[in-house]
Each structure stands twice: as C-alpha cells, then as structure tokens.
Subunit: 347 residues, 2 copies
Amino acid sequence: MQTLFLPIAAPDAEFYRRALHRQTQLTKPPGSLGRLEQLAVALAALQRRDQPALDNIHISIFAADHGIAAEAVSAFPQAVTAEMVKNFAAGGAAVNVLARQLNAHFEVVDVGLLNPVELPSVIRQRAGAGTENFKIKPAMSEAQLQIALAAGRAAVSRALVGKADIFIGGEMGIANTCSASAMAAALLAVPADEITGAGTGLNAGQIRHKAAVIQLALQTHCQRLTTPLAVLQTLGGFEIAALAAAYISAAQQRLPVLVDGFISSVAALLAARINPDCRCWFFYGHRSEEKGHQQVLDALAAEPILQLGMRLGEASGAVMAVPVLQMACRLHNEMATFSQARISAGL
Amino acid sequence: MQTLFLPIAAPDAEFYRRALHRQTQLTKPPGSLGRLEQLAVALAALQRRDQPALDNIHISIFAADHGIAAEAVSAFPQAVTAEMVKNFAAGGAAVNVLARQLNAHFEVVDVGLLNPVELPSVIRQRAGAGTENFKIKPAMSEAQLQIALAAGRAAVSRALVGKADIFIGGEMGIANTCSASAMAAALLAVPADEITGAGTGLNAGQIRHKAAVIQLALQTHCQRLTTPLAVLQTLGGFEIAALAAAYISAAQQRLPVLVDGFISSVAALLAARINPDCRCWFFYGHRSEEKGHQQVLDALAAEPILQLGMRLGEASGAVMAVPVLQMACRLHNEMATFSQARISAGL
C-alpha cells in the first residue's frame, strides 16, 4: 500500500522551456496548431526529449466482475464480461482493431472474473471471483484490494520492459459504470442521481433505479467512505483498483498515461486523490457521452483530446487519441523553422 | 461555368442501409462508438462499398495572392504567400509533415501568386498575379474566375487518376481570411464585424480595421453581390474559387471531400450555394478557432470531426482528421459481430 505514496517527479522545466521555444520558431503563426502545440510541449517535458515521440504504445485491459450486477443495473447480462474477454483474446473487439492499426502492445488481465477464462493469452492475476454486491457489503477485502493494486503495477512493469512511450489502461466489467458512479459520487460529494448515467444503454427508468441503488449504498457505507482507498475498497471494482494503481505507478516511473473515458477517469480521480502529483503525467483521450464524465474531468482539470460521442470503454477512446498525439509530436519534430525556410516574420 | 451546375448523385440508400445494419451487429453496445459509427456508415453510402476505406488520400494546396493585402489586414507580409509555397515544395510546412505520415499524395498549385514560384514541383495554373484590391474594385474578372475554377477541377481530375478515396483541398494566401470573411458576410447577410476574426494573429484594433475594410467593400459592391458566383468574383480569391470548384467537381464524380477550416468552409458554402447537392459529399475536419467558422459551419449544418483549437489553414485540420475516418472504417470492417464472437445480447 505504501508504494502508492512514493514520490512522483514534476515535468522537466528545461525540456518544457526548450519545446515551447521551438514551437515559436516553426513555420506557422504562433499558436495556430492549438492543442497540438500544447500536447507536444507537455510530452517533451515528461519524456525529457527534444523530439517527443509515441512510437511504442502499451495497452492493458483489466477485466473483472461486479457483485452489484445482481441489482439489475446493466443493460447486458454478467456473462458478457467473460465473453468480451474471449473477444479481446480473439482480436474481435473495437480496441483490438485500433491496437492493430497502431501496432500497439495489447494485453488482457483477468483481475477477478466470476469464472476464469482459460486462454493462454489472458494474464491471470485474480483478486477474487468478482466483487461482493456493494449494496449489501463492502465490494472487496483489504487483501483483495492489494491483489488488484498489484495487478495494475505489474502491467506498468511489463510496459516498461517493453520500452513503452505511453501507458493506456482499459476496463471491461458488466455493471462497472455503477461502481464508478458510486465512487465518483463519494469522491465529489454529489448525490447519485447527479452523476449516474446510461452505461451500456439503460433507459430513463433503469437509470433512476441504478441511481437509487447507488444512493442507498452511499448511505449504508457512509461511515466507511473516509479515504480514497476506503472508497475504492467499499464501492470499487478490481479492474478500477488496478487502473488507479497502474496510473500512479506509471507516473512514479516517468511513463506518461493516456486516460480513457468515464470509468478510467474515475480511476484517475482516485489516483489523484491518493497521490496528487500523478496528474501531471495524465493525458485524456476523449470526452465520453456517459453522464458523469464531465464532472469527473472538471475535478481533474482535464481537457480531453477528442469529443466523438463515444461511450464504449475498453480503452477505445484513449487509443483513438493516439494518432493526434503522434501527429503533434511529428509536427513539433519535423516542421521547418522560419530561418530554415527563409520566411518573413509576422508583425 | 455550366459545369458547376451538372447533377450530383445522392448517397447510395442500399449501401447506407447495409452499413447501418452491420453497425448493430458489431460487438459493442448500440451507438457506443458515436461519431465513428456515423462516419463509417456515411462513407460506405458514398463509396458504395460494404467495406469503406480511406487508403489513398489526395491533398491539393491552392496558393494565390490578394490585392486586399494592401489594406494592412494581415499579421504577415504578402511575401509570405510565395515563401510558404517554397516551404510546401521543400516539405517543411505542417501539412507536409501530416501528408508524409499518411502517405498521402500532396501537390501545390499556383493559381495566382503575385510572382510565380519557379519550382518544378509547383503546378502552375495561374488566373493572374494576385487579385485586385476588392475595397476598390472587383477582385477578379470573369475570365480570371474561369481559370481559377478550372484549376480546382483539374486537381480533382488528378485525384481521380490517382484513385483517391478522398479529396482534401487547402489554401495559402496572405490576407485570405479577409476575402473569406467578406464572402461569408455577403452569403450569410451578417455585418462584417460579426464574422471577422484574427486570421494569422491580428490584435483587437487590427481586427476592427479589417472588419471596417470589409464592411466598406460590402457597401461599395452591394449591387453586384446578387449570386454566389458574383460574390466569388467580387470578393474572392483565386485559391478560394479553385477550392469551391474542386468541391463541386469531386461531388459530381462521386469523390468524398474532407473540408479544412474557415477559408475552406467558406469555399464549401459557396459550393453549396452554387450546387446544393454537393453537401452530401462533404466531411468537415475540424472546428477552427477563427471567429467566423462556427457561423459558416452552422449554415452548412456541418459537424466537424475534431476541435483542437487549430487555425492554420493549408489543409492541416482536414488532414488531422484522416486517422479518425480511417479508424472509423477499420472498426466497421474488422470488428467481430455478436454471433461471430458468441456474445449475449443486451436487454
């Protein structure tokens, strides 16, 4: 647990200054590449490179089941978690298509499916056979939380062995927007109905039911919800714990992170509440359609790169943003300067 | 001139229906890929393919000078138009970096620089040595307009010979946001100061001056500005005329178009006013920071793919959106269906 609190470096001030200066020299009006300039400069300062680059992308999908699924809070049956893990293993999911296109390293971690998926390509680091139903009791034990956190750290270790330039985490777990919404409500101190959304496709009545389940759980556990880790243990999912630990571990080891949508952002918020310095290492891939995402992004002062109306999870929105970051790097590295191109300066 | 009014096909209803149906079968909650689903379906219907694709990208940059530059309406001196054409030819501009990354076909067309750039890689199809100062007299003659329109059509012919899957037009021309703002004000019937922006980087006082120049021109020429082509001839630029003709010609020949930022969108608005059916063939790369862009996009009912705070022109925002469209196609084509992956259906 103490690992979570180890210090995190700030972005490098000298590489930041140099990157900012280079942007003023490139053959374009100052500021005319907008976010692309900021992204390249931020990455240069994190990577401590004059030529920032995202050649080597690491994607870890953490999958786990949720006891709260028994409360009919998802549009899909619980069996879909394991079925989608098999789909990831077979290469048929959205994130597989995107990962192939980017030549990214892709892996799936079973951090607590109800029934293990027996496939050689699925990494098994299981904290349990799904969480408990948090409407009734805390989602996981202290020991289970430790296993889930360790699974996140292990994924970052593999990313570093593979010389990754960026870490992307994703999640799969039927009912996990219910868990994430409960944690967001607890962390942001807002009523459940202000933050609870449709997940994979609930209708208005079903969303009200989901929010009521969450509100009851918040009341039941209110004495426990005193620290970010207590929120995670009481309302969390194994895959969300793994994501939060992975984000902190990546930041501690100077590996930039690209955060996905609502559930991943709740994991990022947990990480930021546990060890606030990690936030400097986070990029945000996209703004999800899921209702609570904007509130969580606001709490993180996050500006997502894309707004494409996506709400799939499984890292898909983060992976979609990779080409934008790559283009930002290439523009920074490859454009001619005014003096190289002998171009007259502006007013 | 009559060529502009030749008929344009509608998207194919049968390919549209089939693509929409396929999206419901893919292993994701319905609608969870947001814009990516819509983009893939739209492209399938335009390309008449069950597997839409953007493998072959054609980029034409049209460059020309503007007489209105004499009114001190740009942050950069007029010499920069030709200097940037040389930068394009040398591969040092932002769009070069992006085009290389996409393995796109890239070309620059001198459609009316003040002084021709004598480089073998620059295509010369000149309508004149820059336009006239439209504060004083119409920007171009009828004959010059014809040459500029033909230059746009010729670029599309080259794209078709090269088996392009999409046409991207870009522009370079110091003071061309002044011309584009004047045309947008005329076409949308709004006062100049509601639509005039900073261009390459004017301050507030300079923007007021630029708007006053435009407002005076609108008053001077008000009797002439009765048709879209008259607006183009009176207030336009050669590169903007080329873009408008290219967009119409592409649509007439079933080649989808990816529109760039403010100036390109004004060309798209001209095209839509000349031959409204062309709009079905347009995708919009990004929302520019330039003040008038949103009004022009609204008039076109356009939803840009990216919002990255860019305002560079030279096709850069359109080219940035290509990876999003490519990913949308690959997701559509390569994701497993529920039955292939044996995944339980939702509620």
